[in-house]
Structures are given as C-alpha cells and as structure tokens.
C-alpha cells in the first residue's frame, strides 16, 4: 500500500515543477538589467483592479516599465474581482514579506485602513495611487499619485467655456459614486457663469441612458454643451446626439478613454476627452516609493501628485489610438 503515497508525491512534485517554471517565467529579476546603481530593492504594488478591466492593464504596464527602467524587483498584485477582504489580505501578506516599499490603491479606506496602517507601523514606505486622494493623508501615506476629480472637472469646464457654450448638461452614469459628483461640481465651477444641469442615467442600461439624454436634449433647445463622466455615458450620449439630429450643434466631451471615444475624437465628433493617464500612476507610484526607500526623497511635500487631467483632442487622437494599442493610454 505504498503506491498511493508515492502517487501523491509525484503529483505534488508536478506542482513544484509548475511553480518553479512559473517563477522563472515571471520577470522581476534585477540581475539581468541591474546596472549596479540601485541596490536590491523590492517594491510591492497592490491594487483593486479587476482582471477584466483594461484600465488596470495600463497601470500594470506602467509598473512594469518602472521596474525595467529602475532595475529593481517589483510585484504587481490584485484580486481577480472587486474584493476588499481579499485585497486587505494581499496587503497583509505584502507586509509580512517585508518589502522596501508598498504602492496601493484605496477604493475603500474603511476596509483597507488597518492593513495599510500595519504596513506604515512596520516602517514600510507607502504611496497610494488612483483612488484615495481624500484619505491618504489621514492614513499617514507619503503621497498620492492620481487625478483629483474636482480639479479635473474644473479643467473640463474651462475648456468647454472656451469653446463658447452657453447651456450645458453633465451626464452622471453612476449616481452615488462620490467621485462622479465631484466631477460635475468641478465642471460647473470651471464653466464660470454658464448653467449646467446634472442628468442621471444608468450605465448598465445603455438604451435607457440614450433615451434619458435624448429627453434632456429635447426638453431644452438651448443646450449646446454636454459632458459625460465615462465611456459608459459617452457612447449613449453620442448615439442620442445622432438620433435627435443635434450632432454638430452640441459640443460633447467626456472623462476617460475607450475605443469608441477615441474614434469619435479622431472623426472630430467630440471636443475632447479627459485622460487620467493611469500609466503614470503605475510608473510614478513605483518610482516615488523607490526614491524614498533609497534616498529618503519625496517630491511635492506630501501634496498629491496629479497625473491628470490630460486632454485628448481631435488633433492628437491618432497618436493616442496608437499608444492605446500598446497599452500605454
């Protein structure tokens, strides 16, 4: 009756080999590209980016570029789904592995606060990226790299006002998301005196969203400016303009990029899109925490470091489409 154990042994040996193979395949070696100027640093990045979200692949590409440029060891980790307990556990594990620096996103400060606190208490430098601009100071995080929503909205409003609009709507596709409310508020501020009405639609229901936007447009003929807060609002808005025959009369702009948005920009159907340039969030997050771990250097005195708003317009849309295919925008 030795055979079963023997088989179990072989089976798990297979696992060992699989694990070793994966480890070799996974990059993160500083022997290959270390130029001798960096000592052996190991940075861990933990985000809430779901595997299916192309936005976060761009962040991960920025992280990997920073790893290669700096010649250090960087590990990028995220739960497969939006799962705060799992993310907190990943941070706990990162802390236990005693890295030289930690980069995190903070979509839920309540759920992640204790784990991040533990990292700081353990003396690990922590930088937050993407989400968390409102809480990073209270948690004792060095700095935040991202886009502040209100200021980005102000930028959108100013550009829209320059285009000469007189009456606008701000289409909110996810009511309850505080970040989106801030974008609309900033937009109204940036417009100066131009009126701006918020129209609420549901991102999970594109047909309903389109109907809602059409209704808002037909209710007020004087509307000549429209801001959407993401591709899930922009696509139905473009369709609504087309359907109601107002395309060309109404200036339309959006937050964040998608293939559809880029094509509309390239065709001159949109005024601009606001890009938070998340590639930089990954790149700068790693760069900043590395510089701090190595030399104690910190830019900005702890003020947030803004990666956006970057503006994509019909003039530079073609270049962005190219970079988007490479996973950089």
């Amino acid at each position: 009756m030795k055979a079963p154990r023997w088989l179990a042994g072989v089976a798990v040996l297979g696992l060992v080999l699989a694990a070793c193979g994966t480890q070799e395949a996974s990059p993160g070696d500083d022997d290959g590209n270390g130029d001798g100027s960096s000592r052996d640093l190991r940075i861990v990045v933990v985000t809430h980016g779901q595997a299916s979200d192309p936005f976060w692949s761009v962040v991960a590409n920025g992280v990997n570029q920073a790893r290669d440029d700096l010649g250090i060891e960087v590990e990028y980790n995220a739960p497969e789904t939006f799962d705060m307990p799992a993310m907190a556990q990943l941070i706990d594990t990162a802390v236990a592995s005693e890295p030289d620096g930690l980069v995190v996103s903070i979509p839920d400060a309540d759920a992640l606060g204790a784990s991040i606190q533990a990292a700081i208490d353990a003396g690990i430098p922590v930088v937050s990226i993407n989400s968390g601009s409102d809480v990073y100071r209270d948690l004792g995080i060095l700095t935040h790299v991202g886009q502040t929503e209100f200021e980005a909205g102000v930028g959108a409003g100013q550009r829209m006002a320059e285009a000469g609009v007189t009456n606008t709507i701000c289409v909110n596709q996810e009511v309850g998301n505080v970040a989106l409310d801030l974008r609309c508020e900033g937009f109204a501020e940036g417009l100066g005196g131009v009126p701006s009405e918020v129209v609420a639609v549901d991102l999970a229901d594109p047909a309903g969203a389109q109907a809602g936007i059409e209704a808002a447009l037909s209710a007020d003929d004087s509307i000549d400016g429209l801001l959407t807060l993401g591709p899930t609002g922009a696509d139905p808005a473009l369709a609504a303009l087309e359907a109601s025959g107002r395309a060309g009369d109404v200036q339309i702009a959006t937050f964040d990029l998608s293939e559809n948005v880029l094509n509309a920009l390239d065709a001159g159907e949109m005024l601009f899109a606001i890009d938070q340039q998340q590639y930089l969030q990954g790149y700068l997050g790693v760069l900043i925490v590395t510089q701090f771990a190595q030399y104690g250097l910190l830019p900005g005195g702890g003020n947030p470091i803004l990666t956006g708003p970057g503006f994509v317009t019909p003039e530079n849309a073609a270049q962005v489409i190219e970079l988007s295919a490479e996973g950089i925008r």
């Binding site: 009756m1 996974s26 590990e75 236990a96 400060a109 606060g113």
Partner: protein
C-alpha cells in the same frame, strides 16, 4: 455453541492494519497535500516571509475565512447536496449588517442577529425547495445565488444610493459583541479560532452523533436511509440552514473587521468552499467525506493563495494553481479510495 475463534470473523469487526485505517480516512489526501504544499512554499519562499509569524498569520486568515464556510459545505455535500448560494449569502448578510449598523443605527447584537436570522430563513427556503420539489440542489441554489446577489444590489442601491456602505467602524468601536468577531492575538485574527471551533463541532457531529450517521445515510442512499427511519428531509433542511449561517458568520466577521460592506462581497466563495471540501476528500455524489479534510483543504487553499505571493509569483496565476490543486486532489483521492476500500 461453537467458539468464537472457530467462526470466520465478521468483516465488520475484523482487525484492520494501521496503514489501511489511515488510507480509509477521507482526509488522508488533504493532510498529505497540505504538508507537501507547506514544504513546497517553505523551500520556495521560506526566506521571503512565508515561514515568519506574520506570514503564517496571513495564510491562516485566508484559510479560516474560506474554511468556516467549507466545513459546513462539506457536511451538506456528504448529505448529497450542494449550496451554490453561500457566496451571495455572504454579500447579502454583510449588507444586512452594514446597512443596519451604519445607516439604521442598530446596535451590533441586533445587526448580528438580523444577519443570522436572514441567513437561516434563506437556508430554510433552499432546503425546503430542494426537499419538496426533488429538484437538484445545484439548480435550486444556483437560482438563489442570482436572486440573493440581485436583491442585495437592488435594495442597497435603492436605500443608500451607492453600492458600498462604509462607516461601520465608527459605530462598533469598543463594542463587546464586535470584539468576539474581531479580536486579535498578536498577528492572529480571532476568525482562525472560529474556524477551528466550527470544524471541531462539525467533526464531532459527523463522527459521534446520531445526526452525523443520518448525514452519511442521507447522502449514501436517501431511499434506504428513509426506509430505516432517517428523517432525510429534516437533515437536509438543517444542513442548508447551517451552510447559510456559516456564510452569515463570515459576513459578520468581515463587516466588523473591515468596517464596511459592499454588494460584491463573497463572489466566488461558493466555489472555493466546494473546492476545500473536495480537496478534503468529500465526494461530490455524497455519502463520503470529512469535516477535518475540509480544514486541510482550506489550509491548502490559504497557503497556495498567499504562498504564491511570497514566492514572487503574480497573483494572476492563483486561479490556475487552485484548479490544478483541485484536479490533483480529486485524482489522488479517488485513486486512494478505490485501492483502500476494496475488500480484503
């Protein structure tokens, strides 16, 4: 009367060697597997924190969270039924907790009672439908998985206008009931203790009580069991209520520990719970399995999840490893069982 020695020994009371006794235990594969996975990561990542106290605490916490539910799910599977709704149950119960405490201002004990009460009702409904309609529990609880998730998202958005409810910490700070679910001993969370206690209770029930025999009977052959007087329907309904309650316990612990609830909590946990039970030697067809096995199944899962991190392998690969582990475990377990349970 002929002397006992002269009679051929009844196979039920024949002497059995130690090796065979061990091989006959459903959890053998899981225990061996857990040890091997530990050794594997100790070699790969021993110098990177896997063996440290903090490292141990993190994989035990992951194991405890899935093991809590896994132990209850193992009992249900031994009784021949599935519960795919536990993942959604975690989300629903965590919203009952979070909305109750943060939005409606309930005291902690009321919110905890409400979460468990809600879970027991849903568990009862699951069990009642399965028993009355004789439909496969896979389908019934698959329906419940979607119903619960949808209702959770719908009600939460309608009540609060958002999908994530924060602010539980502020209301529960210093609450003695909350401490039962969130206490810490050094780096170790109390959830680990809950896990071990629940696994011990499940094992005791299974191995030492009449109810435990009924569980095996209901899963082995429900008709035969009913004919010898086992209340199969009652056993199954109670077990459905137990799996729902275990999900609620995890939800209570998560909400009080992490201070918030969101509508996606627990997504995919139904499969992880089944995986821990199956790695632990429980048969999908029922009638065979162990709660101790599920403990080692959960431990294996926890060590794999966090061990990959310590070994410097991206978490992108975790699900592939989990699937591989599951396949290996099932193949080894069934091979061992076929060899060991053969007569002679």
């Amino acid at each position: 009367m002929a002397s006992a020695e002269a009679r051929p020994v009844d196979e039920r009371v024949r002497r059995v060697g130690l090796t065979r006794t061990l091989l006959n235990r459903p959890e053998l594969g899981a225990v061996t597997g857990a040890i091997l996975v530990w050794v594997l990561f100790a070699i790969l990542a021993g110098d990177r924190g896997f063996l440290s106290l903090n490292g141990t605490a993190t994989y035990l916490e992951v194991a405890a969270q899935v093991g809590l539910v896994g132990s209850a799910v193992a009992l249900l599977m031994i009784a021949g039924e599935f519960d795919l709704s536990v993942g959604s149950m975690i989300g629903a119960a965590s919203m009952v907790m979070a909305i109750g405490i943060a939005e409606l201002g309930w005291p902690v004990y009321v919110a905890v009672a409400a979460a468990f009460g809600f879970a027991l009702v849903v568990g009862f409904i699951n069990g009642y439908i399965v028993v009355k309609t004789r439909l496969p529990s896979f389908i019934v609880t698959l329906g419940m998985l979607f119903i619960l998730r949808g209702v959770t998202i719908g009600i939460t958005r309608a009540l609060t206008g958002r999908t994530q409810v924060p602010g539980v910490h502020a209301a529960t700070e210093g609450d003695p009931i909350a401490a039962i679910f969130t206490a810490q001993l050094g780096p170790f969370d109390v959830v680990i203790l809950w896990w071990l206690v629940i696994a011990a209770v499940a094992t005791f029930v299974l191995m030492r009580t009449t109810f435990g025999n009924w569980i095996f009977g209901a899963g082995g052959s429900a008709i035969a069991a009913r004919n010898v007087g086992v209340p199969v329907a009652r056993v199954k309904i109670v077990l459905f209520m137990a799996t729902a309650a275990s999900a609620a316990l995890l939800a209570v612990i998560q909400v009080l520990t992490f201070g918030s609830g969101d509508v996606l909590r627990g997504e995919g946990k139904e499969f992880e719970a089944i995986i821990t039970a199956v790695i632990g030697g429980t048969l999908l067809t029922g009638g065979y399995g162990s709660a101790i096995g599920a403990v080692f199944g959960a431990l294996t899962l926890g060590m794999t999840r966090q061990g990959l991190f310590f070994a410097g392998i991206s978490s992108d690969w975790y699900q592939a490893f989990l699937g591989l582990l599951l396949l290996i475990a099932v193949i080894v377990n069934s091979w061992v069982r076929n060899r060991a349970t053969r007569g002679g």
